[in-house]
């Protein structure tokens, strides 16, 4: 296989698999205010793609991070970000603010 074939196959593979916006699943919200995430435990359906919108209602910059989900996003004060998540197996997935270690950790529970 030469370089040209490698690039063409890669592009075809990428473009053909772009996600349909209607297939991205339901959106859930986690809000950060008063140095806490709310809800601290978010229940979501297992085995279906979903989105989590993180809203920062505080005056401090946060880094929303989940080690088990491999997600890391800075959220400006008053801003929000939306994370796309694949279908999760039933289980508990952590999240925390990496900029403030004293903020209590939260969990996304897929059932």
């Amino acid at each position: 296989m030469d370089l040209k074939h490698f690039i063409v196959i890669g592009l075809m593979f990428s473009v053909s698999g772009m996600a349909d916006p209607e297939m991205m699943g339901k959106t859930f919200e986690i809000r950060f205010e008063s140095h806490h995430f709310s809800p601290q435990t978010l229940e979501v359906p297992a085995n279906t793609p979903l989105q989590v919108r993180v809203v920062n209602s505080s005056r401090e910059r946060i880094e929303f991070e989940s080690f088990s989900l491999n997600r890391e996003k800075v959220v400006e004060p008053g801003g929000s970000v939306t994370l796309k998540l694949p279908a999760l197996r039933a289980g508990t997935y952590d999240f925390f603010d990496d900029f403030h270690q004293d903020v209590p950790e939260g969990a996304i529970v897929a059932k």
Binding site: S14, G17, K73
Partner: protein, 281 residues
Amino acid sequence: MITPLKAALRYLPLFGLAAALRCAAQLDPWEFEVYPYSTNPRGIAEFETDNAAVVEGHAAGGEGTASGTLRSQGMWYNSYEVTYGLTDRVEAALYLNMAEPAGGGLQWAGDKFRLRGRLFEQETLPVDVGWYVELEWHKTPQYDDAVRELEFRPILEKDLGRFSVMANPKFEKVLAGVGHDQGVEFGYVAGMYYRWARSLSPGLEFYGGAGLIDHADPVGQQQHYLFPVVWGELPRGLEYNFGLGFGLTRGSDHLIVKFNLELERFVGAILRAPPDGGWFF
């Protein structure tokens, strides 16, 4: 439902494609690191030091990880890197490469500048895709007989449950110095990681290099390494990656120890936040 392990095996041929191509570029022993899809967020600076010590190497220059006149045996490759998130999708980094040969002192060995970015949002494509462009310069023939080199890497990542699979195929062109009149070299950097605990998780990393795209070196002269690694986060946000690298060919050094440390902090954004829905900047 497909288990993460089965899914990882399903995607392995894609990531193995790079390694299966019949050629590879020379290795960068100053940076045994696999790049993920994610980049430094806007305004975040990361300070990193990468270290690799050749415990069992070669006795003559130009062999193993040594590309210059000095031998690789006993060499300590030491680099310092500052990375800054220009936007949430593009970061810039500056490197200072140092080296200490066996019996010698720590010396300057070159500098690098790179830009790295990610395309779309995570999970938009079946495989998350990023890009990497690097310019390296040095006049240190004792470490590398090339003077200026340009490198491009597509970055591929797929998360499968707690597994992450990453591949960085490398395309490198010597712009000045020995090899400037030759073509493009191809190599690979790849890794498989399992997220077990924030403080300690295992992984396997693969590095290889074998020559020009249209004229690969004989297999015995190529370099291929397998690094079992542990990685994680220490208190105060200090992240580490420690591994033992085993050379898989005669042309490889036999044993390398690597230890990378990094720390990220918000230092302030210089560019405005891009509008939602972007895919490049």
